[in-house]
Symmetry: C2
Subunit: 408 residues, 2 copies
Amino acid sequence: MPVNLTAPQASALLPVKGVKLGFAEAHVRKPNRKDVLVVTLTEGSHVAGVFTRNQFCAAPVLLCQDFLKQKAGIRALLVNTGCANAGTGDDGLQRAKQSCEALSQLLGLQANQILPFSTGVILEPLPVDKIVAGLPAAIANLKEDNWLNAAEAIMTTDIVAKGTSRQIQLSGKTVTLTGISKGSGMIHPNMATMLGYIATDAAVSQAALESIIRYAVNKSFNCITVDGDTSTNDSLILMATHLAGNTEIAEASPEFAVLRDAFTEVAIELAQAIVRDGEGATKFMTVQVEGGRDEVECRKVAYAIAHSPLIKTAFFASDPNLGRILAAIGYAGVEGLDVNALKLYLGDVLVAEHGGRAQAYQEEQGAAVMKAAEILVRVDLARGNAQSTVWTCDFSYDYVKINADYRS
Amino acid sequence: MPVNLTAPQASALLPVKGVKLGFAEAHVRKPNRKDVLVVTLTEGSHVAGVFTRNQFCAAPVLLCQDFLKQKAGIRALLVNTGCANAGTGDDGLQRAKQSCEALSQLLGLQANQILPFSTGVILEPLPVDKIVAGLPAAIANLKEDNWLNAAEAIMTTDIVAKGTSRQIQLSGKTVTLTGISKGSGMIHPNMATMLGYIATDAAVSQAALESIIRYAVNKSFNCITVDGDTSTNDSLILMATHLAGNTEIAEASPEFAVLRDAFTEVAIELAQAIVRDGEGATKFMTVQVEGGRDEVECRKVAYAIAHSPLIKTAFFASDPNLGRILAAIGYAGVEGLDVNALKLYLGDVLVAEHGGRAQAYQEEQGAAVMKAAEILVRVDLARGNAQSTVWTCDFSYDYVKINADYRS
């Protein structure tokens, strides 16, 4: 069951001027579920994207990267679930292009103004015909007040639809940001495609939007994913429609940080929602590593802890088997680490120091922390001032069940 | 259930002249189980060891490394299960020393002639008193024909005792090698302490023995473990008693390779036995990566596949969800990999080429391979002549159960 996560109310997901969303039940893989999403953007919108670094990246990812470079002006997104169109070679590229072309004709655009996204089973051909057949229905229900339906249309093994909104003031104008995400687990970051879409009606320069996406992804989706250890299809897209009436935000604008931080907040909430809805998750863990020489070594330690099946199963069992955390710190690969200097905390409880169990530590204290649904693991490496935070979930029977049965 | 693995017959584990083994039920953690093992070696024996690279390595590992450097002539091993004596700081070192001192007094040796080993729960103090109290019983039943009892005495969550023997001819003399190992899983290499002990009565120089252990571990235990990703206590020990009457083997001896290969064969069988008895294992997978530019990149790909919970759960389900393997190859971190050139085989079946599913591939073929208890995954990177093989097992409900309940 998702950890402290419920689907947003439809009314909580605020419309963004210039962004319309429409969905269809196209039976890509299964009947009677929303599985195609079309998003349209008003002319003149800016769009930025970051994508998986997996070398076997999916055909739609390659097309997105290509189309963004062509700068023809992105005017629509097309998302399908049920099939990832990854590991599909040249044929996959052709099918992704066909789906963009079909939508472009219906919308009166060029194919390279449409970004395609797919999520689902790898190594199977994209059923273009089914997707194309669903487009008229999706276009027919395009509207600005359709974010919850959109969030539902991109779900795969997600239990809960994920979305959130913020409003801020920029040059005296109210600006809206609304985002949705999908992702069915983060037990190990290679398991599931993450898709994230965040739109604003703010006016923001292309350069500033690209600066913001790099900043925001590094504080959010990249804190639940190891670089180079990502799925074939991971994508995050920021969109800005310029209809809020604010003075255009550039990187040098005094209000740049306000918009950047609002995007980052939305991205963090969407990224954390993916962990909270992690496959089989029963606990939400924040792994905070501080006192490192640089952020890279803090991340190494945080990921070593966050990835260990031994630690994750112990958390599932609410068992304060904290020696497993020490072992993970020990193999994280931090050069010259002084294991006698570091400190390990579970919540506020000092668990280990001087290379072993803290003298005052009582197992009941650890057990009490472990019983909670949200758990903080904190490591002080005691060798610098850098820090890094990673979010993850525990590892349960249901994780195995979900992944053993995924295709059936 | 262990995959094609049963405990050896007591008579199949051949005595090695000059090696005596004795055990005790010392109630280190649980009653009524063999949990202390003493091994004695005749004077003049040579001993070599390789150990975990985990920076949080256990106190006994630090002592072993120190004592081997001191070259006082190792004459005994002392192994306990139930407590790993890791994450125990200076107090842990003192307790490990105390147990060596107690055994040295009983055997008329110096403490630095005894190598200590511990396996079990991390972060808990070693119950020295219980171990010391068990030593007289272990010494009382020291005998050469005791290898199966020894194999049982080092088990933790192992279901099956692991041991094997070989005999070879060296300079016209029959030479025996017998080894035992323990390790309860390799789903992820950080999960479980692996211990391995292999003895021979051959005469072999210290330098040759050290050369052999580096070679053998690289072909065996290191093929089920990622460097730097090992437990706090992993140890492999080779022992040679020089009682077989053969001409002493040096690195330059014509028969060096014969002895080296015999040790390596024993090490591979013991290492594979650990995987076959992997926690919750139902399948034994051989991941063979060939056509790489060097062994390092082949290993990267093999480990990416062997570690993926997504792949391992699919194997558990006998589901040929082979796209997950392509995804793992894609994030393995091989620079400049041409995903269109590589080929993926499941058993003898060509599954993927040209960046996607092979044209002739039928899912029934993949499903047939997946049903077997032993499965070969073969990747041809098509960019060189190097190769590497890794052994692993699948990922089942029982893995979660075993690790969630380990301490209870």
